[in-house]
Symmetry: C2
Subunit: 546 residues, 2 copies
Amino acid sequence: MHETMAATLDQAVEEIKRIRHEARILGDTTRPRWPMIVLKSPKGWTGPKVVDGLQIEGTFRAHQIPLAVDAEHPEHLKLLEEWLKSYRPEEIFEESGCLRSELAELAPNGERRMGANPHANGGLLLRDLIMPDFRNYAVNVPSPGSVQAADTHELGAFLRDVIRLNRGQRNFRIFGPDETLSNRLNAVFEATSRQWDARTQDNDEFLAPDGRVMEILSEHQCEGWLEGYLLTGRHGMFNSYEAFIHIIDSMFNQHAKWLKVSAELPWRREIASLNYLLASHVWQQAHNGFTHQDPGFIDHVVNKKASVVRVYLPPDANCLLSVWDHCLRSRHYVNVVIAGKYQAPQWLTMNAAVEHCAQGIGIWQWACSDRGAGPDVVMACCGDVPTLEALAAVSIMREHLPDLKIRVVNVVDLMKLQPQSEHPHGLSDEAFDAIFTEDKPVIFAFHGYPWLIHRLTYRRTNHDNFHVRGYKEEGTITTPFDMTVLNDLDRFHLVMDTIDRLPQTGDRGIHLKQLLKEKLIEHRQYIRKYGKDMPEILDWKWNHSA
Amino acid sequence: MHETMAATLDQAVEEIKRIRHEARILGDTTRPRWPMIVLKSPKGWTGPKVVDGLQIEGTFRAHQIPLAVDAEHPEHLKLLEEWLKSYRPEEIFEESGCLRSELAELAPNGERRMGANPHANGGLLLRDLIMPDFRNYAVNVPSPGSVQAADTHELGAFLRDVIRLNRGQRNFRIFGPDETLSNRLNAVFEATSRQWDARTQDNDEFLAPDGRVMEILSEHQCEGWLEGYLLTGRHGMFNSYEAFIHIIDSMFNQHAKWLKVSAELPWRREIASLNYLLASHVWQQAHNGFTHQDPGFIDHVVNKKASVVRVYLPPDANCLLSVWDHCLRSRHYVNVVIAGKYQAPQWLTMNAAVEHCAQGIGIWQWACSDRGAGPDVVMACCGDVPTLEALAAVSIMREHLPDLKIRVVNVVDLMKLQPQSEHPHGLSDEAFDAIFTEDKPVIFAFHGYPWLIHRLTYRRTNHDNFHVRGYKEEGTITTPFDMTVLNDLDRFHLVMDTIDRLPQTGDRGIHLKQLLKEKLIEHRQYIRKYGKDMPEILDWKWNHSA
């Protein structure tokens, strides 16, 4: 059987060589029939055949311990001896107990050893990506909110050039379940195609045998491909709908566990990070409805070791570019990045974005009205849609409650919120208190489930004053703004929440709250009648000077 | 094409009738070849064929909106008109715009209407299970900790009789990925077999064409089968390894969303709950190692609507029986139950278990030393292994720090911890404070990730005094007790944590801590040498009188 197996392997290797020769030298790239070995062997082959009158070899009983040798089964000792002797140890080992040297010599040497093969220690083969300067893809933002752009669309141009620059090294790929266009990364198809070596038809688009985009409508397949690609020393990314990335929760678990354990082994080299781009996120599923709304992947991710997991929620395109550049350069992490794909207001110049992302969290001074004094309230936001709603809420308050001192905080790097003792990115308590104050109300507009913010901040000084709004599992097919209304994350609810925490807003606050309640009714009536959001929502612009 | 389709459907229905007749009347139960219709039709069939010179029908371009009719594309209006007229509305509708009555009459009536078919509203077909009295399966517990039993093994006898009693109604099934035996539910095979209508071989066990156990090593398949079974008005359960139930995270999401939305529709009847039995849990994977350790499914579950999700962690077999009886009787929930499968100390008599599970959380008076006075510390526990370790910690303290007033709290129903406003099971703040005090340290030994307890309790009065130990993603192949040591959940760490929070333990506390540090070193040396836990761990017994 060993000879048959060896001969079959040789035959398969020869066949692979022939196919490669025909493709690489003779240029025949039609889809080959790769060799495949089907080995059918009895379960528990060469183990004990029959124990206590029951067939073991070749049956389900060979699955775990075939033979219990203990005080209750002394008669099994003889069976164990027979079994072990069936391997003829006297032919394999010297008298001293050592493996016979002529057998030891048969094993491969050096890098041919299974545990030393560089393909099984991909970090040895890893070459840095040649990176374009992400600043060259900046959206020009003359003032906060003055222009619109689709964040992932801008990222597409950067990724296109990553593909171009690394064409020679052939070590970067984009994986995803048929979402490259749907997630607006269109520009990558200016530089490459989907890899495809099967039959093509008229009207097919962007298919080629040397494409760098791997698409298949199976998140499992994409995740498996990407993990294998990273483990063998290459770079890549997975772009997916946010709700459906849960499909690979269990596979992510195993990869994160592998990263944690392998980082403890000195001979294991670091591999490229596993980068998830979750576009088509929970707040952009107004048309697909409730089934497509689930921001819980980050809840799942943060349960894994802090040394391995990173989560970013860039509020605009320039921040996304800066974050993504960082992720592609990083090693041995799982990076989860959540980004919008629709036209949305842009807040930061590229310089400001780089600075903001380097800090991971920051006070947006241009949006604050608390300069020169302490704030009455902190409006915090994390995620593109919550940032828009929080700023719209601030603008309502700056108009109607002009005396209120408002501080605006934006979070890009979610792990900044955790204590330093829990995550390497965590802010010190002093830095955290400086941003969020020790005693002022914090109204926090969050992309995901609101309790995740509490889980990250419960040890912070001011935690009792944190009031978080986020997705609370309410949704349907409706307008984009109504999605935020259904979950109390909209600008009107945020203002009302703030007034509730600030008795000093007095009668002005009470009147404003009444006005906003009426706005919400008006909103509901308007969307029922017109099927789209009110013009004042669609046309809203930030118009406060810094 | 419509005629061809109708004729083909008729043919398939006739074939199904023939197969049923042969099986039910003539007794031929060999696996039939069920009819299968393969329909291959062009994508976007009968839609616009060509738009702007590009082929639409039969290509990927037919996937979403085939034709944009708006201010920028006025020329498309004519295409739209042609497309819609191709359905010949003048033959379908009256002048008045109504559907022609001779066509309307073709549609089925009453329960034959698609939306009124009872198989699509399974609650209409649902019949209560005939339930044995779970008290009859009680483990006899003369005093707490005096006997051992394997919790799921005891449950197996109860499930066996559920199967027997409902044989006539044929409305209960057990689903799982080949774990019915591995999870110790062996007794069910006294009453039934695995359903199997393919070929059998010598040495096959527990296979039959009318088996009520559905096993396949695909969690996806099991979940899908069970969901379909419940949705069509039957009862069932899914038993799985805890770590690998994440494989169906995404499917659970959709089922939970369906339950939430359908509960809002008055014409939808409630269906049986989806019951997960997660045995082979994180603390029982000492031999399988790190890959098999993940208690995060409950973190995932509690993100869904509180009206739909329930989580139970029974500490012993009698509690498991009481909880499972409740789950099988419940409607329209997802119940997650985590239970041990190995021999472990039993704590409560059946009467005590019923009372404890009805409350969902309780002070275990027999373990407390704070009666007649307020406690110095609350030792809380949730889950079978944490309960064992917490009680062992209490026994150490009662021996070495006899003046300490210790209260022992056990949690079966995890949702009791949430505020009443967040979950229907949530304790009132008054009841919570009465159990956990307003100001005493709470050392909480938890089955899952420790931060889940913080996420559930962050609004409680005494939350700042909660110190939770649980799985913190440390594991390998080691001894069962060492698994708790690696995660600081073991009895020694729990005592040391308590001493740290109680300065009044003074020098006695300091000395005890030193002793326990030495114990931990002794433990490490012992398991390295002998490959199993120290006798004092294996043989430990609760021996305090109430």
